[in-house]
Every structure is written in structure tokens, then in C-alpha cells.
Symmetry: D2
Subunit: 383 residues, 4 copies
Amino acid sequence: MSNKKTLNVGIIGYGFMGRTHANAFRKVTNFFDTPFQPVLKAACGRDGAKLKAYADKWGWESTETDWKRIIERSDIDIVDICTPNDSHAEIAIAAARAGKMVMCEKPLSLDGKQGEEMVREIEKAGVANMVWYNYRRVPAVTLAKQIIESGKLGRIFHYRAKFLQDWTINADLPQGGAGLWRLDAAAAGSGVTGDLLAHCIDTALWLNGSIDNVSAMTETFVKERKHQLTGQVEKVEIDDACAFMARFGNGSLATFESTRYARGHKALNTFEINGENASIAWDLHDLHRLQFFDYNDEGQYRGWRSIHVTDPDHPYMGNWWVPGLAIGYEHSFVHQVADFLQGIGSGKPASPTFRDALETQYVCDAVLSSARSGQWVNVPKLS
Amino acid sequence: MSNKKTLNVGIIGYGFMGRTHANAFRKVTNFFDTPFQPVLKAACGRDGAKLKAYADKWGWESTETDWKRIIERSDIDIVDICTPNDSHAEIAIAAARAGKMVMCEKPLSLDGKQGEEMVREIEKAGVANMVWYNYRRVPAVTLAKQIIESGKLGRIFHYRAKFLQDWTINADLPQGGAGLWRLDAAAAGSGVTGDLLAHCIDTALWLNGSIDNVSAMTETFVKERKHQLTGQVEKVEIDDACAFMARFGNGSLATFESTRYARGHKALNTFEINGENASIAWDLHDLHRLQFFDYNDEGQYRGWRSIHVTDPDHPYMGNWWVPGLAIGYEHSFVHQVADFLQGIGSGKPASPTFRDALETQYVCDAVLSSARSGQWVNVPKLS
Amino acid sequence: MSNKKTLNVGIIGYGFMGRTHANAFRKVTNFFDTPFQPVLKAACGRDGAKLKAYADKWGWESTETDWKRIIERSDIDIVDICTPNDSHAEIAIAAARAGKMVMCEKPLSLDGKQGEEMVREIEKAGVANMVWYNYRRVPAVTLAKQIIESGKLGRIFHYRAKFLQDWTINADLPQGGAGLWRLDAAAAGSGVTGDLLAHCIDTALWLNGSIDNVSAMTETFVKERKHQLTGQVEKVEIDDACAFMARFGNGSLATFESTRYARGHKALNTFEINGENASIAWDLHDLHRLQFFDYNDEGQYRGWRSIHVTDPDHPYMGNWWVPGLAIGYEHSFVHQVADFLQGIGSGKPASPTFRDALETQYVCDAVLSSARSGQWVNVPKLS
Amino acid sequence: MSNKKTLNVGIIGYGFMGRTHANAFRKVTNFFDTPFQPVLKAACGRDGAKLKAYADKWGWESTETDWKRIIERSDIDIVDICTPNDSHAEIAIAAARAGKMVMCEKPLSLDGKQGEEMVREIEKAGVANMVWYNYRRVPAVTLAKQIIESGKLGRIFHYRAKFLQDWTINADLPQGGAGLWRLDAAAAGSGVTGDLLAHCIDTALWLNGSIDNVSAMTETFVKERKHQLTGQVEKVEIDDACAFMARFGNGSLATFESTRYARGHKALNTFEINGENASIAWDLHDLHRLQFFDYNDEGQYRGWRSIHVTDPDHPYMGNWWVPGLAIGYEHSFVHQVADFLQGIGSGKPASPTFRDALETQYVCDAVLSSARSGQWVNVPKLS
């Protein structure tokens, strides 16, 4: 390995996100020239056997079964939180107080209030921090951001986003516990709102600015499911589906929708933005493409362009292969690590920081509140 | 021509819809075996020169410049109303009272109250009647209806529809008068809600049943435009864009959106319906295709099918060409006439009747009301 | 109807093409300002009952059961030939000698030698003439021609075309006789080469200039089929599939392929042309779209544009509906009639004339000859 | 790391393929349970500085500047050849004689004769061997293979394949030397035939069986380019484009085409196969999708299915993420290593072996020979 300065990572959680992060830490310097070399120092989880298998598979140098040990260890520079949502706050705050850099899975917190505390503590500690809203770093999404910043779109009229899945239609699927904590309101905080819409909202805030107010509806299609932890059939407390309308600060109108009951859609995360002079659309099922319509094209020859985002002058792509050869989902995490490492101590921290992610939390709160009240709800501004 | 019984048509209005209807009346018996032969007997409009040109082009046998003459003439069997929305009620009621069959352009009326009167009168007269919601008769849309009726979808979870255009972005476009009455609230009643969403709602009610309640937002992006009739810059009173959420009687959740400010979309009328076992999607830009996902397909080989709706066993298509050869927009009107003629006196009138179209009007009213109040609004039930 | 000069049409044949042509003659003046008004004067066919039904359906004023009567009648201005390929020459030559204008279905003739005689006679007679290669007049194809003529493509490197169908896979399908003469070499001259590739070749010659030489292969997958006329199982003499490589006069390389055994493709007529600076692609299954890639677009934002060819400034489209509303297959015939009428006596006859179509015949001959010999074969130049 | 048995890899070449292979060796055990753990033991290249940078970046434990050292070192188990084509034979034979396992980049050799010698030596040595035709292991391509083996397609009628690029259109691009040896016939053996068509042919032989004979054409569009090594403008000896027709042993007809002059296509590697009962299509630009048409679907609902190949029951995908989350190009190499490791000593070596790859070489030879002679050329059978 190179003799660049190393940063030791301690990861907490070894589930799906534990794998995407480990892969990112392992690969990043193979493809990106970063100022630091991450080292897979310690992995933490409660199930010793599973933890061992995970650590072996990915080459984590050591293991811990109590997350507090990760915080205490002096050889850990970065604490990476991959646990269910209900433990983000406690771990992140402890890590910050211990002076560790913190990378936290999304959503930041169970709600805005909790998120505010996390931001307060992390900023007081002055440590580098980031939330893993990875989709910002799909090259086509980053390219969309560049197009928007170039001013090509002009005044924005419309934003629409969806995140559609179909994996919980089966009413026999249990809730709670390993692999299914996302169906348990206690662990997840909410259903599709925090899990899926949070992604859409993060992207939207990044691309289109702040949201003023929202009107939402939610639904739980399967009212009761057996709980894996209690063994009892229990009421399902999460939102299976959520749609909301919104008005952005820039005057544009928006619709958002998410569900786990859209048969035929596995992970159809999409957005579209319509401006006065141009429009952009993207979806995760063909994540390497960006749809772009430019009204400035010669009249008879206007059409939606399907940009195959694999050229060296496309965001991040100069570090991968050659034109035409696509990268996939996991690469967005590699880019996130690369940008995080680049941002450390640079004065320009990589986004989204905890503070950025708090804004998403505020929108989620407003959405859930509106769904309960049937009223339009204003989104608090970040102080 | 054949010696089948003729029905004389008197058309009122010679604009865009005057052309689609004339084409439909002229072509229908070339392709469909109908019990009646429509005859283009009389065309009516206020501008004599334009009327003459229109009548010559399409072979209307005579012309009138006062619509009341069409009602009075004893040689007219069917009155076809293609005028701006604010005159539908008066003409339709007069025609019904005169015992004429009535075909009326959509939307039925300026609002539900007016529509109720129209339904009352038309039903009292007992004459055949229909509203030109032509998209029901795009073969792919009719095929969607057949799939739904086959029960393949199972319980329905989601419905979403959009009608996106981009032709009024230019702020220099005037409002009102010839060709632009759709931008004038006095003539049109509303903006995209009555013009575009009415189509989406008609299709939705047909495919997915009744709507219980809605929450809507509207926006007028260009606040003032020069009015063609007055020559003055006047406030724009129509809705440029409208989005709403809805709950259907069958428990499914819906989002609807329409705008004339979606750069890159000319007439993107779409719907998607997600059921427990299958999903369907369609859009007007590729109107000859239906997207269909069937979860009952063998697991590894599941995927969205793009059905090229041009086979003889597809709705209406056995009357046109051969597999692979598409038909277009205008054909939906031909089908509408064919079905209308088939329905006369059969005891099974072709839909949507005035009564069917009133339900769409109720939804539009609720949408506009909700947009004003910011509240969820219940949709009245058809009595 | 208007008082423009009329031209009386006598059609010979009432099959599939009889319908597309009748529709075109009936509709053309509803949509296009032509210098002449075609009149459906006489229809001719051998089966009296079917002929009567056809004439009634379409409003042909009279019928004949001997095609020579059409030639003899002094009230016929245009003879339109829709018969199987083996009778084109005799009828066309007789019509030309009688001073009639001649419109002839494609392919022009059974082979180049026969075609040469037809060209000689038609040019000697000096009558207006055209061959119904209708796909040139699909708006998207005409738009492709305009792009090419604008010089946007630069030097051309590649041309590729296909026409894929799947309707003869069933080995129980008989050959010969009504509806199936295309499977009978005696009536059709060849299989997919004359039926389908002739279309591809006509388009290619129009878009990309002359072809120098070809190397081809053909195959007959089902070797024997019952013949409808003899009732016997007979050897199938047509080519079920044909592929060929070609070199164009402009130095570009080409591949062509046609078959009726491509499961899943109903009528997939496609072409693509790659130039130094831009590329174009089209297919009949989505005939209202043109794919266009322009290397002159700004680097990061290059992509294939899908042009929805429905704007008023697109070829022919100003005469139809509004942006976003597609037309279909049959409209290409309407355009062909409009252009033919426009060309009469103008000094600029509409293409493809008999002479133009002869060039396609030469290529077909060379293809079939190469398939027999296994050698490259030069294509004769038009004198 | 786990305590599974290790295998030490010595790689020769550090260019584009050096990166794809290093990545594969590093990642494979993070995702696949293989019987061996590859160790990145030694990297070899002639340019010491570049080699050092490469080795550092990827964690190769040592470096060598003479490839013979890799062969000599007793701590190397697998020799991986990533050099230009003209050195494959010498290195592979030396490695085999030294008893090393050999993995060799494609194409196997400069021609069939050379390939035969390589096969002879490798089989005499009895060492594990494989050629890196990676596209077989794109999950969608492997799924295609499974569908074919299931018998769903029935009798095969057609196969067509293309590999279209556009990166050498610029006539100022030099030939030869670093990064551009693919344009130099001396180093590459041929142009697109060995570079791109070899991929198409390998896939075709795997999916559709052996090829009997071919008829080909080639072209060199830019006749002279400056040579990077000599500094002189020299004749370009490679084929810029190549198309060929073929007949397979199973009676199906095929067309193949490759070029580096297809503007708008970066790496459009495609195939389509049409069977009696079903068809399949794939392309590298959307490599995570497989198009599948099944005639056994219910008549009205038939359509091409777009299978999003990201489910756990799709080939290889159970080892990656969750449904809807795509992988990319590089993963095909990871799969290749996984399969290679699985095959060692199992009696079922992973394909394509050197022997398998020799068959592709025979087809390439026949193609180039036919292009020279203008004749159909038979493909030798593997003995």
C-alpha cells in the first residue's frame, strides 16, 4: 500500500449497509487519489458468529461486540454507524464527544428534535461528519446537479420524485428483528418516509433548494403482521406508502411518492425537474443514464437525450473504466468515501453533513405530521 | 355507399375538435360495421368564411351560423357540440329538448351544478348521449381495462396519472379568443384541471372506480397575459398546473398531476396502476404500447412487457391493418363514433354518458375547491 | 367538396393495399391542399362479391371484374395497381400505352429486366407514375432525409437496415392463393427480398445513395407447405430469410437483413446510419420517433435524442393534429397521394418514380443472384 | 482474512486489463465463497515507474520488470497475462511449461495456428487455464444461457450480434504504442475482428453452438495514421470495421458487425437470438437488463419483457445487493475469477478454456480470410 496517512475506521453494524461501506473503504484508493488511506480497523456487532464471518470476509482487523468499545478505542479515527435508526443518536453523540469523525447511515435520526441534538453535539465537537445519502454520488445524479448549476434550466416549475418498491406485498412477511427492522416503527421511526422518501428529499433539497410546506397522505395496507421478536401478530405501525405535495422556496411545485406495494418496481428511485429552458430526469433502475431535454436545441431536432454517463468527463467516471462501461449501485458509496476523505480538513466538508441531513429530517417530520392532520404543514427552516 | 340507415349529424364548432370529429364520422364505416351510416349534414360556426372552408374540406352538406338552427332543423339526428366549455350546457339542453341525440366535447360542463342540470334534461329527454373522452378508446387503454376486468391485478394499491404539456411557458403568449380560449377562465371554466386532468380522471374512474376524497394544489406561473379579445394585459385566472392526491373507493391511493409547464413533454398523458399481482402503465406519447408486469410469470423471467397493441385480437385493431402497424390519435374518435352508433337503441349505451361525465365534473370541482381551501374535500356521489 | 380539378382513380385489387390506397385517396384533401381532387371512380377485382363489399365500404362509384376495362374506360385518369407482383408489368404497360397516369404497388416488377421494359414504356408514354414505397413518407423518415441533406452527418461510414417479422413460423400455414400469395414464388417473384427488403433498399437508396455491390445469403426454413390453389404439399420456392452485406457508392458499409422468422417482431422495419458527426436511427414499431445523436452537442451532455416527430415544423405534421399526438401507418399513404398530386405537371414528379424503383429492383436481383452463387455481385447502374 | 488455501497471482501487464483483473482478484472473496483465496503476489511490466504506481494502488506485494521472472518464481501459482496479443503465446507456453495455471486475456492468440500450439502446450502441461472472455459472466448474459438451455426457444432461426464503438473516428488519433496498440496490426493481429468481434463470437459459440462458414467484409476508413513508436505517418493495417454473415451448425443464420466508427455508440455490444417459441436480446449499454419475448404467453398480452437482472435468483446476483440495485462492467471479471477458482481441481474447469477460445480464433481467421478473398470460408472444426 501507499505511504499516505491512514485513518482507522470502526464500523458498527454488519448488515446490508455494513457490506456497502466495507466495500467502499476497501476500494476507494484503488480508484481515487485521496489524501488518506482508510484502514478497516474494527467491526462491531452483537452476534459474535455473524460478526466474525463479516469481519473475515472483509478483512476487518479486529471485532467488538459492544459499540462503546469502538468509541473508547484510541486507535479508531472514524466511527461509521450502520445500525437501525433508533440507535444513531446515542452512538453519534458519544463518538462526537470522544472526538471521532462520524459517518452515519441515513436517516440521521428518528425525528427532527433528536437530529437537532445530534447536530448540536457534532458541531460542538468540531469533528468531520457525513450522512450516507449515497444517491447524490451516482454520476448521473451529480451530472444533473452540474447541469442545474450551469443555469441551463432557467426558472424551475416542477419537481417530482418517487421511490417505488414491491417487497412487502406478501402479508405473511413478518415485521421486526434481523433483516426486517425497517417494518418495525420502534426501530425505524417510520416506514417508507424515513427509509425511501428521505433519499428523495435529500436529493431534492440538493438539486432544487428548500421546501416551504407539504401536504401528505400515508397508508398501511397490511394492518397486522407477526413480529419476529415477540412472536405475536401485532399492529403494523409504519407507513407502507406515503405521497405528498410540496412547494419549494424557488416557487416550484412538487409531488413525491413512495411505497413498498408497487408491483413490478424493485427500487425505482426517480426524479424529474422541469425548468423554463430544459428538463432532467433520472431513475435508479438505469442509474447510468440521465435524460435531458434542452429547448435550446434546434427546433425540429429537439428530443429527450439519453446520456450514457460513462465518459471520462462525467462526474467520477474518469476514475473507472472507459466510455460505455457502466458502474453500479455500490460505487456511489465509494464516491462518498472519496469525497469525505477529500473534505477532511479542507475547509470544504463533503455534504451532506449532519446539518444538511437535519433539513431532510424536518421535511420527513412535516410529511408525517401532515398525513396525520390532513393539513398543509410548514417545514421549519434550519437555523 | 351501403344502404344502411343513415343518421344526420349537425356539428357546432369547427376548430381542432371539429376536425377530429368530422374525420371520425367520415371514416367510421370504412373500418367498422356499424348499424347506422353517419352523414355529414350540417356544420355550424360564427365565422362564415372559416366555416365555409371547413365545410368544403370535410364535405359537410350545408352550413349554419346560428347554432339554434341546427337544433331546429328536422333533418338533423345528432347534435355534436365542439364549442368552448361555457356553451355546452345551453346547447346540449336545447338539443335534448328538441329530441336530438347529443354528443358533447369534454369536459361536460363548467361545474358539477351545471352538469347536473344537463344530466337531468338529457335523461328526461331520453336521447342517446355521450361525452368525447376519447382516450378510453385508444386500443392500449381499452386493453388495460380488459386486463383489469380479468382480475389479473388483484387488490389495487396505487393509481397515478399525469398529463404534462409545455406549450404555455412563453409569457408572451396571449390569452382568450380564437385558439386560446383554453387560457381564459370565463370560456374554459378552469385551466389544466378541466382541460387535461378531466381526461385523466375519466380514465381513472373507468379503470379504478370512484374517488372518495382529494387534496389538491394549483398554481398560475404567469400571472398576467394580454387578452386577445380586449387587447388589455389581464390577470390570468386559470390554473397553469394542478396536482392532487386522492383515495379511491377501493382503498387505493392516487396521485394526479397536470401542467402546461413541463418542458419537453408535449402531451404526456399517462397512467399507472399497481395491483397485488400485476401492474399496468400507459402513456400517450407511445399510445400503441401497453406496459404490463405480471407477478405470475416465472420468477427469474419476470419483467415489464411492452405490448405492441396492433394484433387482430387487441381491442379495435382487427378493423385496421396488420400486426406491427400502428394507428394514432385520431382513431380513438373513430372508435368512439363506432361505439356510439353501436349503442343506439341497444339498451347498452356507449360510455361515457352525460351521467358518467358528471362524476368527472364532481372530482374536478372537489380538486379546485381543495386547492382553494388547502383541505381534503369529499367528492359527492352520483345519485 | 371543393371545386378543384378532379382526377378519377381506377384501382385494380381490393386486398390489404386496396384498403390503404382507398383510405389515402378519400382522406388526402381533408388534410392537404392538393391541386387535384381524387375521385374514387372504379374498383376492379375478380371476385364479384368481395369486390362489391369493398366498393361499398369505401365508396367506389363503379366496379369492373376485368382489369382491361379500367384501362379502356375514358373516365379513368389514374390507374392504381394493387395486384400481386406478377401482374404489375402487363397492367402498367397497358395503362401507360392508354395514356393513364400509373401508380403501382411495390416492388415494381418480378425482376430488373421486366422493370426495364416498364420504365421504357412509361417514359415513352410520358405519363405521371409512382411506386408505393410508402415508408419514405413516414414523417420521421422524411425528417431523417432532411437531416442528411443538411450535411449534419458528414462522411457516412455505416448503414444498417432490417425488416423482421414472425408470421410464417407456423409450418402449417399454407402457401399461395388469397391472402398468402406472398409465400408463392410464382406470384411474388421472391420472398422477403421483394416483399420486405425492397422497402429497406428503397429507403437506403434515397437516404444514402447508390449501392455498388452485395454479398447475400438466403434460407427457406420450412421447405414444403400445402399450396392453397393446388391443394398439394409443394416445395416452398421463396426465401424465408435474406441477409446481405453491401458497399455504397459513398464508401459506406452496410448490412441488411429480413426474415419472417424473428419471433417477437411483427413488422420491425429499421434503419440506422452512422456519419462522422452524427447518427440517425428509426424503426417502424415506434414510427413517430426518430433517434438522433449529434456529436456537435456539448461533450458531457451528448446522448441519443428521441425526437417525437409530431410538431408543426416536422414533415407533413403541420397538416395533422397538435404536438404530442401521433399519426400511424396509413398516413404514409396519404402523404404519398398528396405528393403525387402535387408533382403532376409540376416538372418535379414525386419520387419514387418507376425509374427510381427500378434501381431497387436491380439491387434485389443482385442480392438473389449473390445468394445463389455465394459471390459478391455488382449492381447495374441505372442508365 | 479467512484461513482458506491461498493461490498467488503474478500478473503481467498493468494497463486497462491489469486494473480490471486486480480489482477482481481483490474483491472476489468479499462476495463469493471460493475454495481458494487469491493473493496479489507480483505485478510485472516494463516501465518501472508506472509499474510501481500500479502495484501500490492495488496492493501487489512485489514487482518484476521481466516477465520471465514471474514464470521462474516458485511463489507464483497463477500467471495472468494482460499484455498485447502478440506476446500471449510466448508467455502462456512458458508459464504452462513451468506448471503454472494460466489466465490469458482475449483474444487467445494472433491466429489459429498460434492458438493451436498454445492449446497443445497447455493441455500437455495439464494446468488450469482460462481466457478472459468476460461478457459470458454478465448476469443477464448468463441468464440468457440458462433460458436457452431450458429449451424455451425451440428451433433457432436467427442470431445477430454487433459491437459498435466510435472512438477512432478522429483521423488525428495516432496508432501504436501505449494505450493505442490496438490500432497497430503488429501488436494486435487485427483490428475490430480480434478486439471486438472476438467477444461477440465467443458469446455466440457459447449460446448458439458452432459456426460452419462465414462471408465477411472489412474496411479501413482512415488509411494512414502517425505511429507513436516510429513518429512516422504509416499505413493503417488493421480493420476499422468488419461485418460478416454466418451459418451455424444448428441451421440458424447470423449477421455480425463491428466497427469503431459508429458515432453515438461507445461500446454497444449486443446479441439477439430468435427461436421458434421465444427470443432474447441483450446489450452492454444496459447490461443489467435482458429482453425476452415468449410466444407461450397468453396471446393478447405478449410483449418483450425487460428483465431487470438484479434478483437473488438471477445468476451471480444473490452474492451482491438487493433487487433493483445494479452491478456494472467490472463485476463480470469478479465472476470470472470466482468461477475459475471454483473450477480448479473440480474436474469441471470454468470455460472458456484455451481450447474453447481456439474455436473463436478459427472463426476470426475465417472472417479475415473471407474478407480478403470475397468468398465464403469454412470454419475448421476443433479436433
